[in-house]
């Protein structure tokens, strides 16, 4: 059974503006599922809609069978879905440790224990826990953003272009971290421009074009498709 399931999502940023025109998306328990597609396809809009930042005009979003459609972001966070935006995903003037505390804001009783766990998992955060988050490198910021999302021990983690703007080395480390998090049993939905890397670590993939589902299926099968290779993988 899908842990996260979005059906027939219609959403946009204005009354007459429909970016998503009936998109379906689901993440099964323990899966990594990626969404790829050209710029303007609606990938980030889908994640914002699922996480409650945008209210869908139509469609339903179920998390563990519970309807979370159009609920407030904080209610969706309480329900167990953590979302990491592509940009502005940390509190820059707060310290790394304070960022982690805010990551676990909705579950204050467990914060101290989870901070220790986050710092064990990502030693760079432990080493820089008193530094202002704005002083971190791009890769470290993405790690911090992900660690903040993990502070509530969500059932599903949604990542919006986590490798955007990172060096190849930093991106590789980040993808390793995503795989490791997934090995612990966390379901992950991910929008990613780096299609080859995203398809390589995902079990299932969705291709969005112009606000609609274009292809859906096994990530390895899609990665082997010559047309997909030509359009998205630069082959």
């Amino acid at each position: 059974m899908a842990e996260l399931s979005a059906r027939g999502i219609v959403a946009g940023y204005g009354a007459a503006d429909e970016i998503l025109k009936g998109v379906d998306f689901s993440v099964g328990r323990g899966e990594i599922v990626c969404i790829i597609g050209p710029n303007g396809a609606g990938k980030s809009t889908l994640l914002k809609t699922i996480s409650g930042l945008l209210r869908p005009k139509a469609g339903t979003v179920l998390l563990d069978g519970n309807d979370i459609t159009g609920r407030l972001p904080r209610d969706i966070a309480h329900a167990g879905l953590a979302y990491v935006p592509q940009e502005h995903n940390i509190f820059p003037s707060m310290s790394v440790r304070e960022n982690l505390e805010m990551g676990g804001y909705i579950d204050p009783g467990a914060v101290s224990k989870r901070i220790v766990k986050a710092m064990e998992r990502f030693p760079v955060l432990g080493a820089k826990q008193r530094h202002a988050a704005r002083t971190l490198s791009g890769g470290e910021r993405q790690i911090l953003a992900m660690a903040m999302a993990l502070m509530v021990e969500p059932s599903v983690l949604m990542l919006d272009e986590p490798s955007a703007g990172l060096s190849p080395l930093a991106a590789e480390k980040l993808f390793d971290a995503i795989i490791e998090i997934n090995r612990d049993g966390l379901s992950i939905g991910m929008v990613e421009q780096n299609a080859s890397e995203a398809l390589a670590i995902s079990s299932k993939a969705y291709i969005l074009v112009d606000g609609r589902n274009s292809r859906t299926g096994d990530a390895a099968v899609l990665a082997a498709n010559p047309e997909i290779q030509r359009i998205f993988l630069g082959a």
Partner: protein, 286 residues
């Protein structure tokens, strides 16, 4: 010696000025508009403290607490029922609305208390003279109270979960919302604390002189200048800006008559906006 005396006076005045300046900058950091209604809340605080002190006979510290609470509650209510509905129309509309609000509230105070000047029930004390520098005991007490209040505020912001949530909303409201922080509750709390600080600042200003319904209006330019000079949105910046404005206003007396000291605020705003628009410490710094 005259310059040293003016600098000392300026530092003491600046520390008191920092209290409402922190309020102004905190509102800007969280709610993204300049709330000029701070002026009338300084007046409300000054009069609430006056009633607590002269009618109920409370000593100064409990009267200051009354000034904080009354101005804070009215600040929260005025934001909730007057300014909040305007916020969707943009920050300029809301800021203009806050000017209208401050005129209305100031006139309510005038309607109740009249225009005459009033003084707190304070014992008469001689000034202290230390190494040729003159300090009034009341100024010194005001300085200590302002330092304690600012220190408590910093402790609240850096050590409590709610204080950190306020900083998080100021830093990145969208992410704060994603993390489950209720930004509406934070906005209410900020309105209460900021206007409470304004009320406290209004009473502190009045303790050293007298109060009347224009006590806030006369100070708001200096408060605004302090917040802009330090970096609008930066709480430590408001403290630094207040000290700069306080000392600047006092030193201006070397070349200007007291009637023109408010020009320092205008000049400081002009210079900062021209040469360092983000202020001394920059916006959003904590």
């Amino acid at each position: 010696m005259e310059v040293l005396q003016l600098i000392l006076n300026g530092l003491m005045a600046g520390t008191v000025l920092a209290v409402p300046a922190i309020g102004l900058t905190a509102i800007f950091a969280v709610l993204r508009f300049t709330n000029f209604a701070l002026a009338s809340h300084m007046t409300i605080g000054a009069f609430a403290g006056f009633i607590a002190n002269t009618t109920f006979g409370l000593p100064i510290v409990p009267a200051l607490a009354a000034a904080f609470v009354v101005a804070g509650i009215i600040g929260w209510m005025s934001d909730e029922f007057v300014l909040r509905p305007l916020r969707a129309s943009g920050f300029v509309t809301t800021a203009i609305g806050s000017i209208a609000l401050t005129i209305a509230l100031e006139n309510f105070v005038r309607f109740g208390f009249g225009n005459q000047m009033r003084g707190y029930d304070l014992p008469l004390r001689r000034d202290w003279v230390i190494s040729g520098l003159r300090v009034s005991p009341q100024q010194f007490e005001n300085l200590l109270i302002a330092i304690v209040v600012v220190a408590m505020l910093f402790a609240f912001l850096s050590m409590t979960r709610t204080g950190k949530a306020m900083r998080a909303v100021a830093d990145n409201p969208m992410l704060a919302s994603i993390k489950g922080i209720n930004s509406d509750m934070v906005a209410r709390l900020v309105s209460f604390i900021a206007m409470g600080l304004a009320g406290l600042g209004g009473m502190l200003s009045g303790l050293d002189t007298t109060i009347d319904p224009l006590v806030g209006f006369r100070t708001i330019l200096s408060v605004f200048a302090a917040a802009v000079v330090g970096g609008l949105g930066s709480i430590p910046g408001a403290v630094v800006g207040a000290l700069v404005i306080g000392v600047g206003e006092e030193l201006s007396l070397l070349v200007l008559t007291p009637a023109y000291r408010t020009a320092v605020g205008f000049i400081a705003i002009l210079l900062v906006l021209t040469f360092r628009p983000r202020g001394i410490l920059g916006q959003r710094a904590y």
